[in-house]
C-alpha cells in the first residue's frame, strides 16, 4: 500500500518572477529521486500539492507540460502562509510535491476539435501547460484551430510574456492577448476585457468547438453569456474550479460541491455538470 500523503522530495531549480508587482513567481522543480518523475506522470489540467515542511501544503495547477521533461513547473500567487513562505525560498532549497492530482482537461474528447482557450489573470497556468502540449509537433495535428484569449490587468501582469510573444508569431495558433488598459505606447496587442475580446475574436460555437475557461469569477460570469450567444453548448464549455483543499485525494472532506470533490472528481468540470451542482465554490 502506497501512502498517498507522502510528498516526493524536490529541489527548486529555478525561480522566475513573472509579474511586475512580483506577486507571481514560477517555480521549476527537479525531483531528488529520478524515479519519482516517472511516478509523476501527468496531463495538462491536473494539479499538485506543494509541500513545505513546517508550513503545510497548497494545491496548485501544474504549469509545465508533459512534453517538457526533467522538471515540473508551478506558478504561484503570493497570498497565504505557505505561498508567502515559498516566495521567500531560494533556488536549491528542498521541498515536496504530491501528485499529479485531479482530472486533466478531457484530451480524448478534444482530439480533432477546435479549441478556444480563455484565461484571465493568473489562472493561466494549466492553460500554459495545455498550449505547450497542443503545440508540440507530435500533438499539433491532433487538433483543429486553436484560439487563445488571454487577458490581464496590464502588460506587466501577464504571465509567460516571452512565450506569449513567441506564440503570437506562429500561424498555427490564434493569439489574442489583451489587457484591461495600458498607457504603454509600445503595447502591440489588444485592449479590452476578456468577455469583450471573446465576443469579437472567438469562433462561433458548434459541436466541433470547445472552450476551456480559467479565470477569476467575475471574468467567468461575464464570459459565459458571451459564449451562450456565440452558440456554445454547455457540454462544450470546460472549466477548472478551485476550493480549499487539504488531502487532494477526495478523503479529507472539505472541497466538495454537492457530491463531487473538486480535488478528485474535478477540478475540471463542464458547464453542464456545474449547472446541476450547488454553487459552493
Amino acid at each position: 500500500m502506497q501512502n498517498p500523503y507522502l510528498p516526493y522530495p524536490v529541489r527548486i531549480d529555478e525561480i522566475i518572477t513573472e509579474t511586475e508587482d512580483k506577486s507571481l513567481k514560477t517555480f521549476k522543480f527537479v525531483f531528488l529521486n529520478a524515479s519519482d518523475e516517472d511516478k509523476f506522470t501527468y496531463e495538462s489540467g491536473q494539479f499538485g500539492e506543494l509541500s513545505i515542511a513546517g508550513l503545510g501544503e497548497i494545491p496548485i495547477g501544474i504549469a509545465s507540460s508533459p512534453v517538457e521533461k526533467g522538471f515540473i513547473k508551478f506558478t504561484v500567487f503570493k497570498t497565504g502562509k505557505v505561498t508567502s513562505y515559498l516566495h521567500a525560498m531560494k533556488e536549491g532549497d528542498i521541498m515536496g510535491v504530491r501528485g499529479p492530482l485531479g482530472h486533466p482537461f478531457p484530451w480524448e474528447t478534444l482530439e480533432g476539435k477546435n479549441i478556444v482557450i480563455i484565461g484571465g489573470g493568473f489562472a493561466f497556468t494549466t492553460l500554459r501547460s495545455s498550449i505547450i502540449s497542443i503545440l508540440d509537433p507530435a500533438n499539433r495535428s491532433k487538433f483543429k484551430d486553436i484560439h487563445v484569449i488571454y487577458g490581464a490587468r496590464s502588460p506587466g501582469m501577464l504571465l509567460y510574456k516571452e512565450e506569449l510573444a513567441e506564440w503570437a508569431q506562429r500561424d498555427d495558433i490564434n493569439m489574442n492577448i489583451t489587457v484591461d488598459g495600458t498607457d504603454d505606447p509600445d503595447w502591440k496587442y489588444l485592449t479590452g476585457f476578456v468577455p469583450t475580446i471573446t465576443e469579437q475574436k472567438a469562433p462561433p460555437g458548434n459541436d466541433d468547438t470547445y472552450a476551456i475557461i480559467c479565470g477569476p469569477p467575475i471574468m467567468i460570469k461575464f464570459t459565459q453569456p458571451v459564449l451562450d450567444n456565440l452558440g456554445y453548448s454547455h457540454d462544450n464549455i470546460i472549466m477548472s474550479l478551485e476550493n480549499r483543499m487539504k488531502c487532494g485525494i477526495g478523503i479529507c472532506g472539505r472541497c466538495n460541491i454537492g457530491k463531487e470533490f473538486v480535488c478528485k472528481d474535478g477540478p475540471v468540470f463542464t458547464l453542464s455538470q456545474l449547472n446541476n451542482m450547488p454553487k459552493e465554490y
Binding site: 503545510g56 505561498t83 478551485e242 476550493n243 478528485k264 446541476n276 459552493e280
Partner: protein, 357 residues
Amino acid sequence: MKLIKIDQQNWNTGIEKAKSAYRVFGPVKEKNDYEFKVLGTNEMPDLNFRNTRLSPKSIIYPQSQVMFTYSIDETKDDCRIMKEVENVTSPMAIIGVRPCDALSFPIVRRNFDTPEYQDTYWIKAYEATTFVGLACNSACDTCFCTSAGTGPFGEEGLDVLIIKDGDDFYTKIITPKGEAFAESAGWGKKEQTDITAKIKELKTAAEASVSSTVSTDKLKNKTILDLYDAPFWEEEAFACINCGTCTYVCPTCWCFDVQDETHGKSGIRMRNWDSCMFPLFTHHASGHNPRNNKYERVRQRFMHKLKYYVDKYDSGIQCVGCGRCIRLCPVNIDIRKICDKMNSFDTESCKCEATSS
C-alpha cells in the same frame, strides 16, 4: 457462523487470555459516562452501559494522528524531507461495540479505502482490529438504528456479536477474524449450542424497544439541487451555534485537517479531526468562503449524510442511528426531524406555496 454459549467465568478468563494476542479495548466507566479504553491486566470491559459517550471511531482514526516527521536542520541531509512514521499496527480487539457503531466502519471505509487512493493509516488500523459487538437488549429513546441500516442485533461491521442474557454470553462468531479471536480467548473448542430461538426472542424484544425511526426511502429520487434549494435550511439552522459537537461525536464523520507543527529543529505533519461546522473549514486563502453562512454549513452536514453520500455510493444514509448528535446537541437540532423533512420534501408543492419559511 458459529453460535456458542459462554458463562461469566469463561468470559472473564477468555478476555484475559485474549490480551496476550491483542490490545484489548473495552468500555470503562469514566465519571458519568462510558469510554473505550485499553484494558489492563484483570480489567474487564464494563458492559452495563447503554452506549459509550463517544463511538470507538478514535481507536481506528485518532483525533490527532502523526503522519510524517521532518527536520528543518539545514546541516542534515534529510532536511525538509517528509519521513513516514512507523505505521505497523499490532492486533487490536474492541469489546462491546454497539451494532450502530459497528456499521459506521464499513460506511466510513468507502471514504478511506477507494479504488484510486488508500488511506494507509486508517486501513492498517482497521485491518488490525477485531470488532466484538454487544447487542442492545433495549434501546435509548434517541436510537433509530432500525431505520438507519442496522438494528440492536445488527451484525454488519462485526466479527463477533455477543448477546447478553443474564449471566450468559451468547456468542455469534461471524468472520474468520472473529474465529481467531475466539481461538485466542480459549472459546474455540466450545460446542455449538442451539440458542437460536432464545436469541430470536431477545432480538424481537430489542427491536420493539426502538421507538423512533426516520424515513429515507424518497431521498434518492430527489435531485441534489432540489434538496439544496429547499426553503427550510435557514429555519432549521437558526438555533445552531456551530459548536461542532455533532460532528465530533458522530461515528461516521471523517473530515480532517492537516497541520505541521515544528518544535526547535524537528517537527511533525499530523492530521486532526475537523468539522464542516467551522467557517475555516472551507475558507479560501483569498478570503472567499463558499460556505460563509451558518445555514450553509448546517445544510452541508445534513446534505452530506443524507443525500450526497446516498448518491455518491448508491447506498443508504451516512448515519447509523446512534442518536449521539441528538442527545448532545446544545440547541436540540434533531437529525430525525431534518431527515424526515428532506425525505418528505415535495418540490412541486413548494414551488406553488412560494417559500413559506
